[in-house]
């Protein structure tokens, strides 16, 4: 088996560091599935922080020198344009003892060079000026070879990159307490408080996520245009996410809805909020109440009204409408990878008199929010500015990078708007190719009061779907979404249903079938992990959305016993 290391800590990685990861590390199964034991720390350990004996890390100045060496080499080799990302990442995952504390340090770079509208990219981890300069020259050579191939094939190349101002400076994401200086004992106290809270609510298993993790990265961006920026970002996984279940029925579970996103910018203060434990308690109590509803085997497939909770609707929009407006898909870059889009050709879509989505949907993008993708400059050196993507159902923009923004030049000119990228380019690690993302998409909630219960009261016979996630087909016209399904009759929840899933025809569900949105109280932020490219990399993209009431949702069952 081959494995590749993606660097950094993904949600999967974080979860894998839980039960499965512990098994992989040699902790017997019976231990991983038992209630965590607490081993008293030694006096020395009480004071121990992850940084206590940490090796020296390359500092910003050293990274900047490497970045500039790469740009000099790319220019000398004849690149029309080149940029580079050089980064140092540290990840810490602390679990209840006896599970090992894990610290990961990853140092890497990626150089991108452009010749005649095509890119060469080289990445590595040998942090010397010679090595990075060699990679830069290699990227130029590869781009030049691509350009020659294109010439022989007689193919049209991409337009020039969208202009962007030269930027210099430094930025640090706001945080108060550096988690790498926090004693391990404090981590374990927080974890213990959470687990005990869930245990007090019910004899149920504690929900997953009883470990804590942070990722700190210093990343330098430089380009041959003269940009040079240094950013330090601290991200944490403060939330407990998962499902409540009984030990005897681990697969019979209910999603625990907590109004705390799983991935946020910030330090250790993220888990010291005074209302944290109360939020966990309320979420658990609700989940337990729903867990104890009667279970009804579901066989009568058909079309039903459905309320999607905030997480479910955020995931639905995040895996359908949002990637359908992704510039990489527009250019065909993802055709042999994650897929295409039904919202093309862009100029027809943007100028259409008929809305593509329900007039209830207005969606905006704002990367300044303190979530996974918060940044001052994106991985192309573009300062993100908030933009409206969908205005009362009309598509008014696309997610664009410097390469894809020129596709919309005519539209921008017609509306007197400058041609610029939106600042949504993201490299998963410094060694990753920048990809177009959705920044942080927000679906605006209803302005009037509309709670989840109020939406459910509109249903005679249908469902509430909680905590659902799923998958969309390559063209994004059809998605499947499954989670905890609650059967509603006469506006009241009467049962949980096993094996229920939905099949969402994107174009109709987000248009004609959307009846109402919930208010601000129902809004939740889901982290949608989009796998882009070949080889693919998983990029976190926060999506915030309210609950939604839809009619005629195609409800199916996983029960296919034969």
């Amino acid at each position: 088996m081959m494995t590749s290391y993606s660097g950094g800590m993904t949600r999967r990685g974080f979860l894998r560091a839980g039960a499965a990861g512990m098994a992989a590390l040699g902790i017997p199964w019976r231990v991983t599935h038992a209630t965590p034991r607490y081993i008293p720390l030694t006096p020395a350990t009480l004071r121990l922080s992850p940084n206590a004996f940490a090796p020296e890390m390359p500092q910003g100045e050293a990274l900047r020198r490497l970045a500039l060496a790469a740009m000099d080499a790319a220019k000398s080799a004849g690149a029309e344009f080149a940029d580079v990302r050089v980064g140092v990442q540290r990840d810490i995952v602390v679990s209840p003892l006896p599970y090992p504390t894990q610290l990961t340090v990853d140092v890497s770079y990626g150089v991108r060079a452009r010749v005649a509208g095509t890119w060469g990219f080289q990445h590595g981890s040998v942090m010397t000026a010679d090595a990075i300069a060699s990679a830069a020259r290699g990227a130029v050579t590869a781009a030049r070879r691509n350009a020659q191939t294109n010439q022989r094939l007689g193919t049209r190349t991409m337009s020039a990159l969208a202009p962007t101002p030269v930027v210099t400076g430094e930025w640090r994401s706001p945080y108060q307490i550096d988690p790498f200086t926090v004693p391990l004992d404090d981590y374990l106290r927080v974890i213990g408080a959470r687990v005990e809270t869930t245990a007090r609510v019910h004899r149920n298993h504690p929900i997953s996520g009883s470990m804590l993790g942070w990722n700190a990265e210093t990343r330098v961006f430089a380009s041959t245009d003269g940009s040079l920026v240094t950013q330090e970002v601290m991200r944490g996984w403060p939330s407990m996410h998962g499902f409540a279940s009984l030990p005897d029925h681990p697969t019979d579970d209910v999603h625990v809805d907590l109004a705390i996103p799983e991935l946020l910018c910030g330090g250790f203060e993220l888990v010291l909020r005074p209302n944290w434990i109360e939020t966990v308690r309320v979420g658990m109590e609700t989940a337990i109440r729903l867990r104890e509803l009667p279970i009804r085997p579901f066989l009568d497939v058909g079309k039903f009204p459905m309320v999607f909770d905030g997480i479910s609707f955020a995931n639905l929009v995040g895996m359908t409408a949002s990637p359908a407006l992704d510039g990489d898909r527009l250019t065909g870059l993802e055709t042999d990878a994650s897929g295409t889009t039904f919202l093309t050709p862009p100029l027809d879509i943007l100028g259409a008199s008929t809305p593509q989505f329900s007039p209830l949907i207005t969606a905006r993008v704002d990367r300044s929010l303190p979530y996974a993708n918060a940044t001052q400059w994106d991985d192309e050196g573009v300062a993100p500015q908030p933009y409206t993507l969908i205005d009362r159902g009309h598509v008014v923009d696309y997610h664009t990078t410097r390469e894809t923004a020129p596709l919309l030049a005519e539209w921008y000119a017609k509306h007197g708007r400058p041609l610029r990228a939106h600042g949504v380019a993201v490299s998963r690690t410094a060694a990753s190719v920048p990809a177009c993302t959705s920044g942080h998409l927000q679906v605006m909630p209803a302005s009037g009061p509309a709670s989840l219960d109020a939406l459910a009261r509109e249903i005679q016979h249908g469902f509430i779907l909680r905590g659902a996630n799923g998958e969309a087909e390559a063209g994004l016209t059809l998605a499947t979404l499954s989670g905890t399904a609650l059967e509603v009759r006469g506006g009241t929840i009467v049962a949980r249903c096993d094996d229920v899933s939905t099949q969402i025809a994107t174009k109709t569900v987000l248009k004609d079938k959307l009846l109402a949105l919930g208010d601000e109280r129902t809004s939740r932020t889901a982290t949608v992990w989009e796998e882009k490219g070949m080889p693919w990399e998983s990029i976190p993209q926060p999506v915030t959305a309210p609950a939604a009431l839809c009619k005629d949702i195609d409800v199916v069952t996983w029960s296919i016993r034969s």
Binding site: M1, M2, S4, A23, A24, L25, G26, I27, P28, W29, V31, L48, A52, F53, A54, P55, P98, P100, T101, L103, T104, T118, W119, F121, H123, G124, S125, A142, N146, T149, N150, T155, T251, L333, T335, D336, A337, G339, A431, E471, E473, A474, G475, L476, T477, L478, T480, S482, D499, S501, Q503, E531, G533, M534, W536, D554, V556, W558, I560, S562
Partner: protein, 462 residues
């Protein structure tokens, strides 16, 4: 060309250096070094060449019966290595004891040979890969179609070593070319791909020709009602279905009473029972000429040739992961397999896709599945969508292209509804994050003709 990863000798030297610095009585070292080179083509234009390597060094450190501390780093210079070892030991020395520690006995280990390394693939990191781009794309453009493609090569080195004297080193190579061709009127898309450990065994012209053929056939698809249908699944479709079948062989889950290999009525694993069509077997072998892999797992234990499902469709073995086996006092017998060969039992009559179509009165031919994901691990139920060629078969011929369809199925059920079986070969996956990270472990499968395959919805994208 020299492989762009640490050689076995370099890995051994590094292990000696790191373990030589270590003082903890338990120090486990694992190194993974992966180098890749790839080219992406979009709409006939070479858009990106991406090359480089990623190194991961894991150090697991424990003093006596204290709790283990894990660290990972990726710098090889002596100062960084020394700092990492000292850092890990400084923390590990201070951690408390773990009274429930389950230490592993050190047992003699021998590793079967394997053939997953090919110099031809290493050589393709330079000229051959770049030359292939043109050979793949040009035929598609010459018929006026649009081409999107991926051409990739990979080489991976792995080392496992510990202070008890266990040392395992291995290297493997892989390559994959995939292509989506679109008809000139953009009404049809066809996917084709090949994957091989040995770059020289890829038939590059065949990839383009198949993508063109599929795209031409796929023009102007019509909507077709989903439902239970007879299907002819070509190898890429079968591979997407069965690639995840390895995990249920994990004895931990099965003995806990979950998964498709556990009989809830009899309250025991279904060992010795027929669980799939009697004509099929399922196995994995590090020395498989098409699907070989490194002969040791991440903990340095040997991965030996295993027959999981034997002739007659009989469940023969479960996978006892190293520590689980030790905890139960039995010999470890492989991790659950990620590389699988779905083969024909001896004496089975083989068919071909053409013959399956000729023998099909009313059914659907599926070239490939995409966006496959598990939805019910208890029964191995998956959902996914046809991709890159889906056709109605009527009266022994391909009748017309139909829009893509979503399915909900379990391979454990599908492999009990087999009508015909073709010959086996490794299948390419293309974009398949649901199967892990690229490159995907080899999966060797035949095309299959299946009755009552469960399609549940149609997708309208081309």
């Amino acid at each position: 060309m020299t492989a762009p990863v640490l050689s076995p000798q370099a890995l051994r030297t590094l292990a000696e250096q790191i373990l030589g610095m270590a003082t903890a009585n338990t120090t486990v070292l694992r190194i993974d070094h992966l180098a890749t080179g790839s080219t992406r083509v979009a709409r006939g234009q070479v858009r990106l060449d991406n090359a480089g390597d990623r190194l991961q060094i894991e150090l697991h450190t424990r003093f006596g019966q204290r709790v283990m501390f894990d660290t990972q780093f990726n710098q090889l210079d002596p100062a960084s290595v020394r700092q990492a070892v000292q850092y890990a030991e400084s923390i590990a020395r201070e951690l408390p004891g773990d009274p429930a520690d389950a230490s592993m006995p050190v047992t003699p280990r021998t590793y079967p040979m394997n053939t997953a390394w090919h110099q031809t693939t290493i050589d393709a990191f330079s000229d051959a890969r770049h030359a292939a781009v043109e050979h793949v794309v040009e035929p598609v453009l010459s018929v006026g179609y649009s081409a999107s493609a991926f051409i990739g090569v990979a080489v991976h080195s792995r080392l496992y070593a510990d202070r008890q004297g266990i040392l395992a080193v291995g290297q493997e190579t892989d390559s994959e070319i995939t292509m989506t061709a679109r008809s000139s009127d953009a009404s049809g898309g066809g996917w084709a791909g090949q994957a091989a450990r040995d770059w020289n065994t890829l038939d590059i012209p065949a990839i383009s020709q198949r993508a063109i053929h599929m795209a031409a056939l796929a023009r102007h698809p019509v909507r077709f009602e989903p439902g239970r249908r007879t299907v002819i699944l070509d190898r890429p479709a079968v591979a997407q279905l069965i690639a995840g079948m390895g995990q249920p062989f994990d004895a931990q889950g099965t003995l806990r009473g979950s998964g498709p290999l556990y009989d809830p009525q009899a309250r025991r694993p279904r060992l010795g029972e027929r669980i799939i069509d009697a004509r099929l077997t399922l196995s994995s072998d590090p020395n498989d000429p098409e699907g070989g892999y490194l002969p040791f797992n991440g903990r340095g234990f040997p991965l030996v040739p295993m027959t999981w499902i034997d002739t007659g469709g009989i469940l023969r073995n479960l996978a006892y992961e190293t520590y689980f086996a030790a905890a139960r006092g039995i010999a470890p017998a492989n991790d659950w397999p990620e590389s699988l060969r779905l083969d024909l039992a001896p004496g089975t009559t083989t068919s071909t896709v053409e013959a399956m179509i000729a023998n099909c009165k009313d059914g659907i031919y599926v070239n490939r599945f995409a966006q496959v994901r598990g939805v019910d691990p208890e029964h191995g139920v998956l959902t996914g969508v046809t991709n890159g060629g889906c056709f109605l078969v009527r009266d022994g011929k391909i009748d017309k292209a139909i829009t893509d369809l979503r399915f909900i199925e379990s391979p454990w059920y599908v492999l009990n509804r087999v009508l015909a079986v073709g010959t086996t070969a490794r299948a390419a996956f293309g974009y398949a994050p649901w199967q892990g990270s690229w490159p995907i472990a080899p999966t060797i499968v035949p095309p299959l003709m299946i009755r009552d395959f469960n399609f549940t919805a149609l997708a309208t994208a081309v």
